[in-house]
């Protein structure tokens, strides 16, 4: 019994310790290779710390809903969300604002990719011949890996769900893994974020003889930095404004290149209304 009391005391002490830290913490959806995320966000943390004058930390998480939960719980104050997770997070946190997106995010794309053995060729219209094959999305709440591809699939096959269109539907978990699973033939067709595809091609991870792009989707808005509504109270008036300015002022290629973005531009919540509508239409949002 005494052990239990001591344990609880120690646990409470740990919480107390956590409360007293006033560091500014941010997270990101784990959409690709983790080493790349750590490289990317450590640089962002250093940059923001220099600009904002508070201690800034990156908290890595393992899943998309964990990123949204950490934001809602106040574990983190800022997050690099996808289009859909951003909508989820702002819906759960009235007052939260989208601050900045990559210049590329205003018109983002999904690539449908296929294993070469399927014989599918690149087409300008939605590749309806992919019906009946095995298909993998990325993470369940990924914008370019699930929400928008599902929307395009439903458009191409009115009245049908992806499960009815394809012989099997899986969720790989992230974009790098979607590429790997389609390349090995574990799944025949997949939907992948075009920027991760480009980064993986550049990194030599894609075997062009085994996997190729069969369709490019129409554009939609995607990734953005979203901040909680209460940061001005905690870090002083005008903090949100300074944060937004700091993000937009990033010019260092060493920070932007790992993102696959040319620069960050201002954005607001309204820019993501199309994603929210699609989320509602596919039944993923209430």
């Amino acid at each position: 019994m005494r052990r239990i009391v001591i344990a609880f005391a120690a646990l409470l002490a740990l919480c107390g310790q956590a409360f007293s830290q006033a560091a500014f913490v941010f997270t990101a959806i784990p959409d690709q290779d983790e080493s790349r995320l750590v490289e990317r966000f450590t640089k962002v943390a250093e940059y923001l710390q220099g600009k904002l004058g508070v201690s800034v930390k990156y908290l890595p998480v393992k899943s998309y809903p964990a990123a949204v939960t950490a934001f809602t719980n106040g574990d983190v104050q800022l997050a690099w969300f996808g289009g859909f997770t951003g909508v989820q997070a702002r819906k759960a946190n009235p007052g939260a604002q989208a601050l900045a997106q990559g210049a590329e995010d205003a018109a983002f794309k999904t690539y449908f990719i296929a294993n070469a053995a399927t014989g599918l060729e690149k087409t300008a219209d939605f590749p309806k011949e992919a019906a009946g094959k095995t298909f993998t999305f990325g993470a369940r709440s990924s914008t370019s890996g699930r929400v928008m591809p599902e929307h395009f699939i439903r458009q191409a096959f009115p009245g049908k769900t992806p499960e009815q269109v394809f012989s099997r539907v899986g969720f790989s978990g992230d974009h790098s893994r979607t590429i790997q699973l389609v390349q090995s033939g574990a799944f025949e067709v997949g939907a992948v974020d075009y920027s991760v595809w480009d980064l993986d091609v550049k990194a030599g991870k894609v075997d062009a003889a085994k996997v190729k792009i069969i369709w490019e989707s129409p554009p939609f808005p995607d990734y953005q930095w979203t901040v909680r509504g209460d940061v001005d109270e905690t870090y002083g008036a005008g903090f949100t404004g300074r944060l937004k300015a700091a993000l937009i002022e990033v010019t260092d290629r060493a920070i932007l290149d790992p993102f696959g973005r040319s620069k960050f531009i201002p954005v607001d919540n309204a820019a993501y209304a199309p994603v929210e509508e699609v989320g509602k239409a596919t039944g993923l949002l209430d």
């Binding site: 052990r3 740990l14 310790q17 290779d33 983790e34 899986g170 033939g185 574990a186």
Partner: protein, 508 residues
């Protein structure tokens, strides 16, 4: 089968037939397509990496936090379980609460607790301690019931209940409880791997990333270290070292995240798990309740029923495959068959087999067979056959044999299997509930088990739906547990040891 039919008691045979028949029926519903086209490129990279483990890549602190979560989780869980065990037999409420708590997979506990405590050490500790309290309460109370009462009878009449407990009952129980509690530590280390899925920095965190991102040399090193930790548990986890381990573990728990306000999180969580139609509607209006009915009906017909069917099909097939696998592995760990030299090798093999996480097996098999129920069935069977095979090997070595006992195949088919068959069924029935619970984590294979739907509900931030699904999973586990207990009783094998710890006591 005909040879067995002549030797085995009728009950054992009909139980076996029933399970095999059920599995055969499940086969009709199961989706076992093999769809891979070119698995060998990735598999070659995988085995090359596993064969050349890169120990320098291991984040050393992850080994420490794996141990820390396991030690603190088990200590709190066992402590609470012990207190609950005292009233367990008398209170139906406690029994039901314990059954519910333990039927929820650690991964789901972690996901729910994260809503309240954030990504903090408390989330990880409670995700282990809560289900373990339920399990320990049940097991301790069974031990208390089965204990030798002769010392109690000899006590003077005026002895107080407390003195009676400490002087006449506890001494008899202490050894068994100790062995069992220390064994739970091995289970807890396996459980901490799953905590990595939500982002707590255990070895599971790095193992999952390493596998996902194809850093197989790092994955190989992590697995080897994990096997050594499990294999050497008896050396470092002893009753005497436990207080020290616990104190060190408390200090070593990672302090991270959890900076949110727990009470407001709790309020929000309470609102989030309230069914959506009730959350926004007027409770006195009939319309709210009819919308609630429609909400519930759609969850039951679209998710619970198909999900439960898929889960049952998967677990029935895995159960029979586990049985076949265990019977095949048995000779590898028994001295009777392998001799003194072969047996340690067999034991090492089984440590590897039973401590390789199912999701790692499933991932390798996904490359080989493509997405279907097949990788899930094989992964579950290999893992559980490893555990039952190990227990059976020990059991078989403990039997007394005639000096002129047959050898080899004859010994196996005509003596060992018939004599140990009751024990074999007992272990298998006990694992039934556990296989069911574990089948929850195969969503990635596109197998739509109940766990697949829970994962979907959590991704859509529909905690109300997730909680209903988790409750349904819990009820299913409870039903299977009750059924397996009834079966054990009717086969009169309920008194045989079904747990790793009680089995090892005979030989310790």
């Amino acid at each position: 089968m005909s040879a067995l039919a002549a030797i085995l008691p009728r009950g054992y045979l009909s139980a076996t037939r029933a399970f095999v028949l059920l599995a055969a029926v499940s086969l009709l519903f199961a989706d076992l397509a093999v769809t891979t086209m070119d698995p060998f490129g990735e598999l070659r990279r995988m085995f090359a990496g596993l064969a050349a483990p890169d120990f320098a890549a291991i984040a050393g602190w992850s080994v420490v936090s794996t141990l820390a979560f396991a030690v603190v989780g088990v200590t709190l869980g066992a402590g609470a379980g012990f207190l609950l065990a005292i009233v367990f037999a008398r209170s139906r409420t406690v029994r039901i609460a314990c059954a519910l708590v333990r039927s929820v997979h650690e991964l789901f506990w972690a996901l729910l607790l994260m809503q309240v405590f954030g990504l903090s050490a408390i989330t990880g500790v409670l995700a282990i301690a809560l289900p373990y309290a339920g399990i320990c309460a049940k097991v301790y109370s069974e031990m208390i019931e089965e204990a030798d009462l002769s010392a109690l009878v000899a006590l003077p009449k005026a002895t107080s209940t407390v003195s009676a407990f400490f002087y006449a009952r506890l001494p008899d129980l202490a050894v068994r409880m100790k062995t069992y509690t220390l064994y739970r530590l091995e289970c807890a280390m396996r459980s901490t791997l799953v905590l990595g899925f939500i982002g707590l920095p255990t070895m599971g965190f790095y193992l999952e990333s390493a596998f996902r991102q194809g850093r197989y040399a790092e994955a190989g090193a992590l697995l080897l270290v994990f096997y050594v930790l499990i294999g050497s548990r008896r050396l470092w986890a002893r009753a005497r070292t436990l207080p020290l381990l616990f104190a060190a573990a408390i200090l070593a728990l990672p302090s991270m995240g959890g900076s949110g306000d727990v009470s407001s999180n709790l309020l929000r969580f309470g609102r989030a798990i309230m069914p959506a139609p009730l959350r926004n509607g007027d409770w006195l209006s009939l319309e709210t309740w009819s919308r609630f009915g429609a909400w519930l009906r759609s969850i039951v017909t679209e998710q619970i029923l198909p999900g439960a069917l898929e889960t049952l099909v998967l677990s029935q097939l895995a159960l029979v495959a586990t049985g076949a696998g265990a019977l095949a592995l048995l000779p590898l760990v028994s001295r009777r068959f392998t001799g003194r030299l072969g047996q340690p090798l067999g034991r090492i093999l089984l440590v590897v087999v039973r401590s390789t996480p199912e999701y790692v097996l499933a991932y390798v098999l996904l490359q080989l067979f493509g997405p279907s129920m097949l990788p899930a069935i094989i992964a579950l069977s290999i893992h559980n056959a490893g555990i039952i095979g190990y227990l059976m090997g020990r059991h078989v070595d403990g039997l007394a044999y005639r000096p002129d006992a047959p050898r080899g195949v004859n010994l196996y088919a005509y003596e060992v299997v018939p004599r140990a068959y009751g024990q074999f069924l007992a272990y298998l029935l006990y694992r039934w509930e556990i296989i069911l619970r574990e089948s929850a984590i195969f969503g990635i294979l596109g197998v739509a088990t109940l766990g697949f739907h829970v994962d979907a509900a959590i991704s859509e931030l529909r905690l109300d739906v997730a909680v209903v699904l988790i409750l349904a999973t819990g009820c299913m586990a409870i039903a299977v547990d009750a059924l397996s207990r009834a079966l054990r009783k009717s086969l009169r094998i309920e008194r045989l040891p079904v747990r790793l710890s009680t089995a090892s006591i005979d030989r310790a």
